[in-house]
Every structure is written in structure tokens, then in C-alpha cells.
């Protein structure tokens, strides 16, 4: 059983990282995992240098192959981390998502000024308010 107390303590660290942006400084793709992560294999894990200088480690999600490289810009999002037993408290934690998924291209050009403003705000809602 995953300790509910450990999850509760970790919760506070999670909110500090949510929404923070950074750059991938190294990565790997796990093909053989330990028991609790078997279900999600294969999955990439990245070390990120956050814009505020700190470093963080976590899985990369919602990515395209082209994002698996050093230098990809990412943002920290909330996801379930461990599977656990059906009766366990759910472990939520930080994972990273590429900020501008390559398949959609870069920020759209030619949008009217007001819509571009709201697009930026909506798509990058995680501009560090946390």
C-alpha cells in the first residue's frame, strides 16, 4: 500500500512546481520498468532546468518523437504518477508536457492581435502564476 501520509507530504511540493516552465537538459526512454510503472512502458523521463534555475525530474507526456531531445521547452502538469492497488490513495504528481507540440507548429501568425493575446494566455495558462 502506498503510504497516504507520504502522498500528503508530497502534495505541498507538487503545487510549487505546477505550471513552471523549463528546458529539457537530458532524457531517456524507459523500456523495462519496476513493478508500479510496468503498465506505462515505454515512457520517456526527462531532467528539466526550470526557468527559475532549479532542476526537476519527471516523465514526458503528450509528446511527439521530435520532442525527445535536449532543448525541448516544457511545462509542468498534474498527472497520476503511480498505479498502486485499487484500494490505495491515488498518487498525483508532476509530469512534463512540451510547450509547443511540434506537430501543431509554432505560435500561429496572422491572428488578430486580441485573439493572439488570448491564445497565448489560454495555451500557456501556466505562465508561472503558481
Amino acid at each position: 500500500m502506498i503510504s497516504p501520509v507520504k502522498i500528503w507530504r508530497r502534495q505541498k511540493q507538487i503545487s510549487r512546481l505546477l505550471g513552471k516552465r523549463g528546458t529539457v537538459i537530458t532524457w531517456t526512454e524507459i523500456m523495462i520498468a519496476s513493478q508500479e510503472f510496468k503498465k506505462f512502458v515505454p515512457f520517456p523521463v526527462v531532467i528539466v532546468k526550470l526557468d527559475n534555475g532549479n532542476k526537476a525530474v519527471g516523465q514526458l507526456v503528450d509528446y511527439e518523437e521530435a520532442d525527445l531531445k535536449i532543448g525541448t521547452k516544457v511545462v509542468a502538469v498534474l498527472r497520476k504518477t503511480k498505479e498502486g492497488e485499487r484500494e490505495d490513495v491515488i498518487a498525483y504528481g508532476i509530469k512534463f508536457k512540451p510547450l509547443y507540440p511540434s506537430y501543431a507548429g509554432l505560435q500561429p501568425k496572422g491572428l488578430s492581435k486580441q485573439l493572439r493575446g488570448s491564445y497565448t494566455r489560454a495555451n500557456s495558462f501556466v505562465s508561472g502564476i503558481f
Partner: protein, 383 residues
């Protein structure tokens, strides 16, 4: 001056018939025989082991060993992930130097094949930080990230790594105690499946059982009696962050650099004085980084230098590395490795390395790493 006066290792491999303490017994009895000593001449035992608690629910090994040996002497268990053996040796040597005792026995052992690969992978991951474990990282995953960073900084790729496995498997074929005795081709290595990109199965040391033991003494009478003995010229320990992300540089083991600097300073030796070395190749990338961080190769040159295979047995060069087969081919029963490395140098320096004897080896170095570089022990032996 502390000297090594005996060494014994069990075979490393999948030893189904032997429990952890069967292995410990074999190693202790073997080394006593090798040093021609009786157990009543041992003043203390240091035991290096990582996972007996997590995998076997076995702790309090001090009492277990006292039971096996039927003694009442002090016994100390030491843990520092894969550097458990090296650290046990360090503490044993220091115990000898600070107490008025004559001999200390250091034994390292690990039993890994009683558990499923998933259980073992999880147990090994306890050497990583909580956050790393939460992210689903495995040990191969951590070293894979180190490899990616190294490739990115110096322009190397997986092919450079394969030379390490190729060399060490050749050495393993010469070592009757090694887990793997077969040579490998470069194609076999490069075609093996990935376990954590870009590291493949054949870039990684295996899951093995085994135990190795040495006897240390500071008693001149005992040392002179032995034909084969070697002085411990230096034995230094350094630590670094457990988290890979907190390291100053991801593709460098700072603890190796610090421990090596200290060891060479204390022994007043130069890198070029080392004839044989056992370095910690838990993954092929680790050997390349070790050669750089220990100061044998310039930073960033490792990927290229390894392709020359100058450190392979049979080459004319002045430094041969991992004649035991390294962790890769000899096997990596975690707690035993640090002792086996020191023991292999002992064999080389006392002309006992049989078909893999490096001629004229006089000074050797052993390098043992815990986790992804959180603890490093560097030992220099010679006469």
C-alpha cells in the same frame, strides 16, 4: 601500513543452490584458507551488502555472521548501494588503523536471483532519490540520461559504448569466476534490445549472486609470513548528491574526481604509475566516464579513446582495465563487487592472475561507485 594478505571470491552468477549466507560462509572460509589463518585470528568483520533487508527481509547480519563463524567478535554491516563493498573495505582498514587489533576480514555479498526481475529492479532503485523513483526511473534510466548528456556534449553515440562491453566480455572469457564466459561481437552488442534508451541489454551489468572476501592486517609478523601480500597505499571516499539532477555536471562523477585526487595525493603517485585498474562499469558509459574522472583520459576524449581498445588485455599499452571482466562480464552482485575489484588487483600485483596476468603489474587501482555517483571509493594498492 595496512596490507592485504588474502583474497577469495565465489563464482558470480545465478547460484540457485546457495543462499546469501551460504555465499558469505564460502567466502569467509575461502579467504581464511587462502591467508592460512584460523578464524580465532580475526579481530573484526566488515560486511558489505545492499539489499538483504529489502529483498530477503534479513537484517542484523552482524549476529548472523557471528552465528556462522561461531565467534563473538565485532561485526559491522555497511551499505552504500553498489559501493557497499568498497565502503566496507574503507571502514575495515580504518578500524584496523585506529584500534590495536591485528586482522580484519572484509566480506561483500549479494543474493539477487531469489527475487523476480521487477522486485530486484525496484530494490536497486532504492539507491536513487525518491523523486527519481516517483518518475519511474530505473538504474539503467539514470545512466542512460548520463549517456545522453555525454553524447550531446562531445558528439559520441551508442557505437562508442559497445567497445566497453566487447573488451570486458573478452576479459570475462579469461576469468573462471566470471558470470559470463562467452565473448561477444560488436554486432551482438549493438543489436541487443534497449532497456532505457540509449542503453541496451548488452550495455548493462547483469543481476548476479556472489560473495568476495579479503583479509587486512597491520601486523608485520603476519604480513611477513605471507608470500603474497600487497600494501594499501591509499583508500579514499567521497560523496555527492543522490539526485542526478542536483549534480554540477550530469556527465561527470564529481565524487570520483575528488576521491581520485585524494588517493593520488596521499600515495604520492601519478596516473601513469597505475598498471592495472578495476573501474566501476555498471553500464558501459560508466567505464568511459570513470577513465576520464579518475584522470586517466582527458574529459570528453573517452568516447574516442575506448575505440582504440588500448586498455584491453593483450594491448601493448601501460594500463589495462577490468581484467576481471568488470561488472559487465564478471557479474555485479552489488555488495561483493567492491571487494572483488580490490581482490582482482591483489591477484594481478601478486602474479596470481593466471591467463589474464598483466606482466610486471606493480601498482593497481580499484574504483567502486554507489548509485549514480553518490558514493565513490578509490583504492590504490602496491608494494
Amino acid at each position: 601500513m595496512v596490507s592485504l594478505i588474502g583474497y577469495y571470491t565465489t563464482k558470480f552468477g545465478e547460484l540457485w543452490n546457495l543462499s546469501l549466507f551460504d555465499l558469505v560462509s564460502e567466502a569467509i572460509n575461502g579467504v581464511l584458507k587462502n591467508a592460512k589463518l584460523e578464524k580465532k585470528q580475526i579481530d573484526a568483520v566488515f560486511f558489505g551488502n545492499m539489499m538483504a533487508g529489502v529483498l530477503g527481509n534479513n537484517l542484523h547480519s552482524s549476529a548472523k555472521i557471528a552465528e556462522i563463524l561461531k565467534v563473538n567478535i565485532p561485526v559491522f554491516r555497511v551499505e552504500a548501494a553498489c559501493a557497499s563493498g568498497g565502503l566496507a573495505f574503507h571502514l575495515g582498514k580504518n578500524y584496523l588503523e585506529t584500534n590495536r587489533v591485528r586482522t580484519v576480514l572484509v566480506v561483500g555479498a549479494e543474493k539477487m536471483t531469489d527475487s523476480s526481475p521487477e522486485e530486484t529492479t525496484s530494490a536497486l532503485a532504492s539507491a536513487a532519490s525518491g523523486e527519481e523513483q516517483e518518475a519511474g526511473l530505473t538504474f539503467p534510466g539514470l545512466y542512460a540520461m548520463i549517456a545522453q548528456s555525454y553524447f550531446n556534449n562531445y558528439g559520441y553515440n551508442e557505437k562508442n559504448l559497445a567497445y566497453v562491453s566487447y573488451k570486458n566480455h573478452f576479459h570475462g572469457s579469461l576469468n573462471e569466476k566470471a558470470h559470463f564466459r562467452k565473448r561477444l561481437t560488436m554486432e551482438q552488442i549493438l543489436e541487443s534490445p534497449y532497456i532505457a534508451y540509449p542503453l541496451k541489454v548488452l550495455d548493462s551489468s547483469p543481476i548476479s549472486d556472489g560473495a568476495s572476501a579479503v583479509i587486512l592486517s597491520s601486523d608485520n609478523f603476519l604480513i611477513k609470513k605471507r608470500k603474497e601480500s600487497v600494501n594499501v597505499l591509499a583508500n579514499e571516499v567521497a560523496t555527492d548528491t543522490i539526485s542526478l539532477k542536483e549534480r554540477k555536471k550530469i556527465d561527470e562523477l564529481l565524487a570520483t574526481k575528488i576521491a581520485a585526487e585524494k588517493a593520488f595525493a596521499v600515495s604520492k603517485l601519478k596516473r601513469s604509475d597505475i598498471d592495472v585498474a578495476e573501474v566501476h562499469d555498471c553500464f558501459s558509459i560508466a567505464e568511459i566516464l570513470a577513465m576520464e574522472d579518475l584522470g586517466f583520459w582527458k574529459k570528453g576524449e573517452g568516447g574516442k579513446r575506448i575505440t582504440e581498445l588500448s586498455t584491453m588485455f593483450g594491448s601493448k599499452s601501460s594500463l589495462i582495465v577490468n581484467t576481471s571482466g568488470g561488472l559487465k562480464a564478471a557479474g555485479h552482485p552489488v555488495g561483493a563487487t567492491g571487494i572483488k575489484q580490490i581482490g582482482e588487483i591483489f591477484l594481478q600485483l601478486t602474479d596470481q592472475a593466471t591467463n589474464r596476468q598483466v606482466k610486471g603489474a606493480e601498482i593497481g587501482l580499484a574504483h567502486n561507485v554507489g548509485g549514480s555517483g553518490g558514493t565513490v571509493v578509490v583504492t590504490i594498492l602496491g608494494n
